[in-house]
Amino acid sequence: MKNTGIKLLENGRRLDGRSPKDMRSIKIIPNPIKNAGGSAYMEWGKNKVVAAVYGPSEALPRHTANPDKAVIKCRYMMAPFSSEEGHGRVGMNRRAIEISKVTAEVFENVVILDQFPGTEINIYVEVLQSDGGTRAAGITCAAVAMALSGIPMKDLPYAISVGKVGEDIILDLDKIEDNYSDADMPVAILPRTDSVALLQMDGTMSKTQFDTAMQMVLDAGKIISKLQKDALMSQYTEQGKKYG
């Protein structure tokens, strides 16, 4: 472990009491943003994220259009009041630009783009409160928003991060773990085929550790996929319950 004096893992327990394989609790609420084609609000541990999807609509400015298929544009941004520390710098920084790009790329793999030539699909992810793993939360939340918008997709992506403390692999790093762990690896998965649509890593990891980490991601994915589906279905089943 990095020599920080902070013990992230002691007797198999993490600072917040989780075991290495535990993820934080997740809550998803469908369609909070009425003007959007589809939207979702998500609480993932202390993270609070809202995602909304607009389109497809005519790609503007015109030079961004692709005559053969739709283009996906994403903007991920953190609110200046979202962190436990001071006031955040306003606007799109380099980190936000990169996360926006890799998020858009996840959806390029699943949205049936050639049905909408010349158009754009906009994904907006706003992080209202952050506690580590916001890009994973954003992607997972945006997938629900995309499905609710009715844009056809071949899969429902989810994302989660894994990391390493000493020689132990831990799932779903929170902010403090993110800051002090020996490796951090956010992953997005297309669950129908278990293919990897986003992979970033910084730190040190052996191949065996990577394989362990991936297995942890796929196991957690079953739970996340179920939560996404439950959120989507709640949109229809609650109305159903109301009238028997």
Partner: protein
Amino acid sequence: MKRIVVPGEMVDDKPLHLLDAFIEENKTYATVISVYDDEKKMLTPLEGLWYPRKEEVVVGVIEEAKLNTYTVQLNAPYKGIIISKYTESAMNTGDMIEASVKELDKTGTVVLSRPRVLNGGKLLKIRPAKVHRLIGKSNTMLNQISQGTGTTMKVGMNGVVWIRGGDIDLASEAVFRVQEEAHVSGLTERINKMVGSPVQVQK
């Protein structure tokens, strides 16, 4: 058995040619949130966008009057165009119109024909996947709402509804209620209760 499926979820382990689904390795998967009835092999989308089909009626708003064409906003991925020489009278920007789909051209523009200006009233945008429910079997739902509220209504397959006259607010409420409860049985009775039955039978 009916069940809700989400994008990427297997609908059937055999290859079935269904709208809103795709086949991979001889299995069928959903592309939008839908209800699948595995006895009837029927996939009914709960969400979805509008795909223009020939002869379909749409409702939209004139966006721009150009030299030879009008462009039309359709609340859809595509814009509509109307070729001016096929229109009987001039139309203005902002005019609400009803028209039918002539064709979808290569650039993704919907060519419209037989435009008719809809005077006054207002438009409602609804989810295109709910349009069929709003119209109902041989127009029953639509007639019920429009007669019960004394309004004139036009429903575009693109998910735009035009309403004028009568109790517009009640009619709008009923339209949105159909949208929200489209998949819940007993809807006709609930709408009936809301707007009143169009034909009062004396006992």
